[in-house]
């Protein structure tokens, strides 16, 4: 008993008091910023360099953080043009807003796209069923960490549940492998409506490194509207929690 009290005292207060205002370590690879448009030659080099085809040239130079694996090699190659800040609020509900262009200072949420029943029903409690459809376990670890004693998303009523019947929505990590596609569909069908669909991690949003692999089958995403995209490799717990809070309007 004495030992437990001693350990508890050392443990102290662990929860992060302000999840929206926390600051991560300076090297954290969060939202990229395009300080200056790269030249033609540089753009060519960057397109060849980027491992996940995240460089966008249509409509000006941009980085699609839905495809970006946050390796930062582009910033290391052109440090004057591209910089990765430690801003972790990089989620949105609109795919177009995931493309970072010169002059963007934040990733915007599209308020119109949020379905009204989501705000009405899930503001105070959102129960989610997580499906790992080929994820590499780093996003799963981070989602688990979102509920731990430090980040404690349970204080907002956000929780992962065991059965899709108890859930209000599905969180997908991983690129959706062919072997997992049918199971994912069954899980989606077993969730009672109204339900939300959240994609966490680069692999889920765009397929990441695996988007051209024949082992991956992403037709599921064409069928249903996605309510939230949470980028990251893996998505940091603060990214995820802030994203969900934004979605449910807290």
């Amino acid at each position: 008993m004495i030992k437990e009290i001693k350990i508890l005292k050392q443990h102290g207060i662990q929860y992060v008091p302000d999840l929206k205002g926390a600051v991560l370590t300076p090297l954290f690879r969060g939202r990229p910023v395009i300080k200056e448009q790269p030249s033609e030659a540089e753009t060519e080099m960057l397109i060849r360099l980027c491992p996940s085809d995240a460089i966008v040239t249509v409509g000006g130079f941009g980085i699609d953080i839905g495809k970006c694996v946050f390796c930062k090699e582009c910033a290391l190659a052109c440090p004057n043009k591209i910089e990765f800040t430690n801003d972790y609020k990089i989620a949105t509900n609109d795919l177009n807003n995931l493309i970072v262009r010169q002059g963007d200072s934040e990733i915007k949420f599209n308020e119109e796209k949020i379905r009204p029943e989501v705000r009405k029903l899930f503001k105070n409690a959102l129960k989610l069923r997580q499906v790992s459809a080929g994820g590499d376990n780093s996003c799963e670890f981070e989602l688990n960490a979102s509920g731990n004693v430090n980040f404690d998303m349970g204080r907002y009523g956000i929780e992962f549940v065991a059965s899709p019947r108890h859930a209000d929505g599905i969180v997908i990590t991983g690129p959706i492998t062919e072997n997992m596609a049918e199971a994912l569909q069954i899980c989606w069908d077993a969730t009672p409506g109204p339900k939300v669909l959240i994609l966490v991690g680069t692999d889920a949003i765009s397929g990441g490194m695996f988007k051209n692999s024949p082992a991956v089958k992403r037709e599921f995403l064409d069928k249903y509207p996605v309510d939230l995209y949470v980028p990251g490799n893996p998505a940091h717990p603060l990214t995820f929690i802030n994203a969900v809070l934004r979605l449910i309007g807290k």
Binding site: K3, I7, H11, L27, Q130, G134, G135, E140, N179, P234
Partner: protein, 504 residues
Amino acid sequence: MKLFLETYNNTNSVDINEIPVLKYQYFANMLRSYFADSDNHCLSYYAYRKDNKLKFICAIAKDSNGKIYLSSHELDAGKIMLDSLTPEFPQLHIFEREIAENFGITFEGHPWAKPVRYPFDRADKNKVMNNYPFYRMESDQLHEVGVGPIHAGVIEPGHFRFICNGEKVLHLEIHLGYQHRGVEKLMLQNDNRLKLCILSESIGGDTAVGNALAHAQLLESLADFEAPKDLQIERCIALELERIAVHIGDTAALCTDVGYQLGQVVCEALRTTIINTTQFWCGNRFGKGLVRPFGTNYPLNDKTVEEIKKILNDSGKRYFDMAERIYSLPSVLGRFDDIGIVTTQQAYRIGAVGMAARTCNIPRDIRATHPFQYFKTHKPQVVTQEKGDVLARGMLRFLEAKESVKYIFELLAKWESIDKTNLKPDYDHKLNPDRFAVSIVEAWRGELCHFAVTDEKGNISHYKISDPSMHNWFALALAVRDQEISDFPICNKSFNLSYCGYDL
């Protein structure tokens, strides 16, 4: 006639044509003589298409002298039958099954010829996830419990089929393949080697440093490049930090499963501090981006070293206090002791490696037996446990974390005294043509092996990844036999094997 080619871990590559090509019965005899000595174990045994033949490569590791023996045999096109060696050496079962699945070879006499991971390019497309041939027991009085692929917690997918009599598990069979993404085929994209680095990190996100290191070593072997000492030290520190972080996390998971909340929250918080240190160092909590071939983007600097020392001193001590408390609490011990036992004999026969082997008193630790990077110069202490039960696996994590903390401090001391080269990664470094290289890393689960073959232009023509979970999933199946089904979660968490590393 030479039976094998000797090489060492993470040194020069070998000429692919110098690996002896034996006739199958000599190959089998060679294996017989090698596996008779328990000092040897099979690292991997796989096949790939070369011209219009099928080339089989076998790599055997000998623990006492740090050597790796390479041998091979070939099969002409059209021939699809071989005698199985599994009845004599159960440790080969998974490799023969993998070859059978990928290329349609029938291993005659294989007692457990079942699919491995249902890859998209498997030989028999009629075998699908729905019709896995589970082991059945003839009875109308037993019932089966099938869990997964979608499990209750936030965890990777896999299907477990128990045959139960009441609460007792008579047999467990594990059916994976849900995470198969086709990594090995994607590793042949020679146009952009950065892709290969990112892919390696994605093989198993929780082993990002381990896999990235194995890949980096492999490319450096293929280029006959030896990393400078400071790079070696940094890589070892990163690997050990990953090990410590995951061990603390596993301790938290074990406490969760037995309902010891204090242990759970304290260990969760401590793990956060460790991975935040990695984030401080390189910007990613899992160390993605930290390890690259031929150099690094995030060399250690004084500030980072300060941070590492501070956190390890504080969190390390708190973790040891907590772990001592956990493993002396009778209510926790009552759940861990004598549960899920795998004996030494069984571990040898199925070829267990890494932590699963060390908890059964088999001292297989690549850092000591086939050292790589700075482990060659400064060997760490190998920790083993004897009983092979859940308690042993828990204690092993605690003791290994302790060793790792001590080791990191020793390395940091060394780092402070040597010259810094601060090499940058090189994604265009030329690789030697027609070579074969082996790169093994002792990741936190066990020995992670990457093998590659280059063609005449120096491009990678075949890449093979062998995760320690390939060997060890069967240990879980054995551990749960004759246990109560309610003990399955702690057995599973005590092994903590990789689904995506197995499925590739």
